[in-house]
């Protein structure tokens, strides 16, 4: 869960121009700095003429010195020099300018100085007390500037900053600046070296380094040490991570980052990235042999030594291994992997390795996409990292094949399509959903994970054709056929008895059906816009679903009946169950499109089980109990309705409701909305789902998540977000933060405070609250630093 899960990401910060620290130093052949540079590549242009304008020109023939006095302008090969007084010594080939001299480079960099002694092509020379402003308006001032051999610029007693100097009193120190006895820019190495450098914030020196260097910002990749990060936590003590980036080749690099911790010794953490012609992959690994593992050997109840251990316990060697990669075979096919393996659930959290993570889904896949077809073959391995996850309850699933194909040309005049799904999984231990079935004691209510092996191959084909009669009625006959081959071998255990009979068995399940969909769209126009109203009716004739409960339900456990499933021919969400019996679905849809392009759509309806076995009422035979209390189990289903509202671009809201068919009680309600209006960005998600005790949901599930960010000024934003859990009637996660961009055009600042339950599984008490403070400071053209601390305390501090 990233820090700004509630608030949509702000629009991309203004991209600073490509210029670097004073990119007048950058390596382009054009001139740089106070003095003109002619890189060796371009020959001197023989017939380039130097233009010189001034109020008064004084020729001193015997010394061959031409002196221009009074607002002198000199242009030579795209460079300009303005000064009060310029003496051009033709014999010594020197140009001496004095009195508020202004040198302008080809690339627009401007240098102000008091006196400049330049070579005649304004290429090399000495400058006194120069001030430089680069094209991406970073600023450098130095007592003396010297340029040698077109490759090396040396500035003595120099000050560099990217901040805007305030006009009315330039003496006020800029927000931040780097003062150095000497700044050397090696153009050939594209490196900037500082000697005896002091970093000053608001004029106060806060860091001093004898030597300090960084690549010229126009350089994107450069081997060298990256900014170190510091940390502290109870279990590992003080830690410092000093990453070294090694750019092996333009398409390959490695980052080796030893983490020295005061209590646990040294952890080696590394990342290797490699890009090839067809794709790219990366490997991230970290490992440590802990010196003091007892720090992690927390007991749930400290007083009682043999109480449940939470946390990694006395495990000494802790490691993580992650790798992902994707390669294109050709323009339609690609394959790849995304693997995450850990020594234990807590290692990434404890050592803050690439941020905490609660998901560890490893997958290997081959994917192909054609014009109207899609093929996906993959395998899964899951590693549960929450406190309640038990590894042997999570399945290894291989293969999972999904192959969807729609014929481009009509077959029998209509559209023929087929879908293939193959799933095969194995897990070692069962997972039950437990509940009180309303009021009784806790018991197993549903089996949502059967131990043993389960494999299924399903093929279904469907045909449909739309006819429109002269008066505008739309008739869409359709037919479908489905065959499933299932091999089920659940481990035998007493607890599984009531849900699944064990023993190795194979089943063949078939289903077929025909149906007709009727629509009659009407349209009207008035000043408000275009109105469309459309009654919809659907009838499906088909035999009963067979083998309900004879095998596990692994991929069709979730069933949310609302307007998005009203007109599906099979309302189950997976292949393990299939809707049987004959059914009619009826609905009415109304759409308004205003002249301004806003769109509003509302649809409602109901589903009727006509005859045969109602697959949803028979959910009690299904091991996962899917279908029970879904609103479809009665012959007359609940009423469902949905509305979508897109008044203006980037402002959209969708709602879905389900009402009891007798009492009109709200069985489920959802609102999902997002808005980016001018300076306001909002995000809302609300859900309320009625109790379903027969599925293990004994309480109403209700929660709302809302986040917003407002740009008070162009550069300052304030944001906040919260998630409120109605069941516990409290905010289980809330976050506030602010950000200030371009403070004096050289600092971006972002601060976030997050308060949430400490779901880090090693927390001793279940209800302890974690307070996290994140501060990120970005010094334009230099780099950024971030500091995050988190402290968790128990909600009832007074108690323990």
């Amino acid at each position: 869960q990233n820090a700004n899960e509630f608030i949509p990401a702000p629009p991309k910060a203004k991209k600073s121009s490509k210029g670097g620290i004073p990119n007048f130093m950058s390596s382009r052949p054009s001139a740089n700095g106070a003095v003109v540079d002619r890189s060796t590549a371009t020959r001197r242009d023989p017939n380039a003429r130097m233009l010189m304008e001034a109020k008064e020109l004084v020729y001193d023939f015997n010394n061959e010195v031409v002196t221009a006095v009074g607002s002198v302008d000199i242009y030579y090969e795209g460079r300009a020099v303005q000064a009060d007084r310029v003496a051009y010594d033709q014999k010594a080939n020197r140009v001496r300018a004095t009195g508020n001299v202004k040198l302008t480079e080809r690339d627009g960099t401007i240098v102000y100085t008091d006196s400049a002694d330049l070579s005649d092509d304004l290429r090399d020379g000495f400058i006194e007390s120069i001030r430089v402003q680069t094209t991406d308006n970073a600023r450098l001032a130095a007592a003396r500037g010297r340029r040698e051999g077109g490759k090396l610029s040396v500035f003595d007693r120099a000050v560099y900053t990217a901040c805007e100097l305030c006009r009315d009193n330039p003496e006020k120190p800029p927000l931040w600046q780097i003062k150095a006895k000497r700044i050397i820019f090696r153009e050939d190495e594209k490196m900037v070296y500082y000697e005896d450098a002091t970093f000053e914030l608001y004029g106060y020196p806060i860091a001093w380094l004898p030597f300090f260097s960084h690549p010229d910002p126009s350089v994107k990749r450069k081997s060298g040490f990256l900014a170190p990060t510091y940390g502290h936590s109870g279990d590992i003590g003080y830690s410092i991570e000093t990453p070294y980036f090694w750019a092996i080749a333009p398409n390959m690099d490695a980052t080796i980052a030893p983490i020295v911790t005061s209590k646990q010794g040294v952890m080696l953490k590394g990342e290797f990235r490699h890009r090839l012609i067809d794709g790219a992959y990366k490997i991230r690994a970290a490992g440590i042999h802990q010196l003091d593992s007892d720090q992690f050997d927390d007991k749930l109840d400290e007083a009682n030594p043999n109480s449940l251990t939470i946390g990694p316990g006395d495990k000494d060697n802790r490691w993580t291994f992650q790798s992902d990669g994707e390669f294109a075979i050709n323009d339609k096919w690609k394959w790849g992997w995304d693997v995450a393996l850990y020594s234990d659930k807590w290692v990434r959290g404890d050592y803050d390795l690439w941020g905490k993570s609660r998901e560890a889904v490893s997958t290997l896949y081959l994917t192909g996409q054609g014009d109207r077809s899609y093929f996906d073959l993959r395998g899964y391995h899951f590693y549960g990292m929450t406190r309640y996850d038990q590894q042997d309850r999570l399945p290894n699933v291989a293969p999972v094949l999904d192959y969807n194909y729609v014929f481009e040309n009509p077959v029998y005049g209509g559209e023929l399509a087929f879908n293939v799904n193959a799933t095969s999984l194995y897990r070692e231990d069962n997972e039950f959903r437990r509940g009180r079935l309303g009021v009784g004691s806790f018991s197993d209510v549903a089996l949502i994970g059967a131990a043993g092996t389960y494999s299924r191959l399903s093929v279904d084909t469907q045909w449909r054709k739309r006819y429109v009669d002269p008066i505008g009625q739309v008739w869409t006959p359709f037919a479908f056929l489905r065959g499933d081959l299932i091999y089920s071998n659940p481990d035998s255990s007493a607890r599984v008895g009531p849900f699944l009979d064990d023993g190795q068995e194979a089943f063949l399940r078939g289903m077929g059906g025909v149906g007709l969909e009727y629509r009659y769209p009407f349209i009207a126009m008035n000043s408000l816009g275009t109105h469309q109203i459309e009654p919809i009716a659907q009838i499906i004739l088909r035999p009963n679903e067979t083998h309900i409960g004879d095998f596990a339900n692994e991929d069709a456990q979730s069933l949310m009946f609302d307007d998005t499933t009203l007109f599906s021919w099979n309302k189950f969400s997976g292949f393990d169950r299939i809707e049987g019996g004959s059914r009619a679905n009826v609905g009415l849809s109304y759409t308004l499109t205003t002249a301004g392009g806003a769109s509003f759509n509302v649809m409602g309806g109901q589903s009727y089980h006509l005859f045969g076995k109602n697959s949803y009422a028979n959910g009690d035979q299904d091991a996962a109990r899917t279908g029970l209390q879904s609103g479809l189990e009665t012959s007359r289903s609940d009423y469902v309705a949905g509305a979508t509202f897109v008044p203006v671009k980037n402002f959209a809201m969708a709602t879905h409701f389900r009402f009891d068919e007798k009492s009109f009680a709200v069985r489920s309600a959802e609102v999902e909305g997002r808005a980016t209006l001018g300076r306001f960005q909002g995000n809302l998600s609300y859900g309320r789902y009625d109790k379903q005790p027969e599925l293990g949901y004994d309480d109403i599930r209700e929660g709302v998540l809302a986040g917003a960010r407002v740009f008070v000024t162009k550069d300052v934003y304030v944001g906040g977000g919260a998630r409120y859990n109605f069941d516990r009637n409290e905010f289980d996660k809330s976050q506030i933060g602010f950000g200030v961009n371009n403070i004096e055009d050289c600092i971006n600042l972002a601060f976030d405070y997050i308060r949430e339950y400490d779901i880090d599984t090693s927390a001793r008490r279940l209800d302890s609250i974690d307070h996290k403070f994140l501060l990120r400071v970005d010094f334009r053209t230099l780099g950024s630093a971030s500091v995050s601390t988190s402290r968790s305390n128990d909600v009832f501090d007074g108690e323990n």
Partner: protein
């Protein structure tokens, strides 16, 4: 007042094939550009049926460009495990309809749809439920795009 959208006499812009409502002829002449990704493939297949009703493609008169933004959120989270109890997928689609050979669109805009599913600690069941929710949202959007397009052809706006 209201009149049938697909009836032959219905006023509409553009050519009409033999005995067919002009709206339908126009809908059949839209070439939906390929959309990258599984959700794009599902949305495009469903939209093509909504536009052509299963018939062969006609000479292209319009080109429809679609881009999809896919997001998922969890309003209800079990505070102790941090795992969601339900999850809502939302698709936001930007579309632009351009007459063949022209650059600036005649109509463009955004459509939005969401679908939810129950989330448990069985991650495989969650992955399949999310895939189904994405398909449901894609089918919703295909229907809304058909309504928008046929509204345009029937009224010229």
């Amino acid at each position: 007042c209201f009149r049938p959208l697909y009836s032959e006499q219905s006023y509409a812009t553009g050519p009409s094939a033999k005995g067919e409502a002009p709206v339908l002829t126009n809908l059949r002449r839209i070439d939906v550009r390929p959309i990258e990704g599984r959700i794009g493939n599902t949305l495009r297949n469903e939209l093509i049926f909504q536009l052509r009703g299963g018939e062969a493609a006609d000479a292209t008169a319009y080109r429809l460009d679609i881009s999809i933004a896919n997001r998922a959120q969890s309003p209800i989270v079990d505070p102790f495990t941090g795992q969601p109890e339900t999850r809502t997928v939302s698709l936001s689609v930007d579309y632009a309809l351009k007459p063949a050979g022209q650059i600036d669109p005649v109509i463009s805009g955004q459509e939005f749809a969401s679908a939810s599913y129950s989330y448990t600690l069985q991650r495989f069941a969650d992955i399949r439920a999310e895939r189904d929710a994405q398909n449901r949202a894609a089918v919703q959007i295909a229907g809304k795009l058909r309504n928008r397009l046929q509204g345009y052809f029937a009224t010229g706006k």
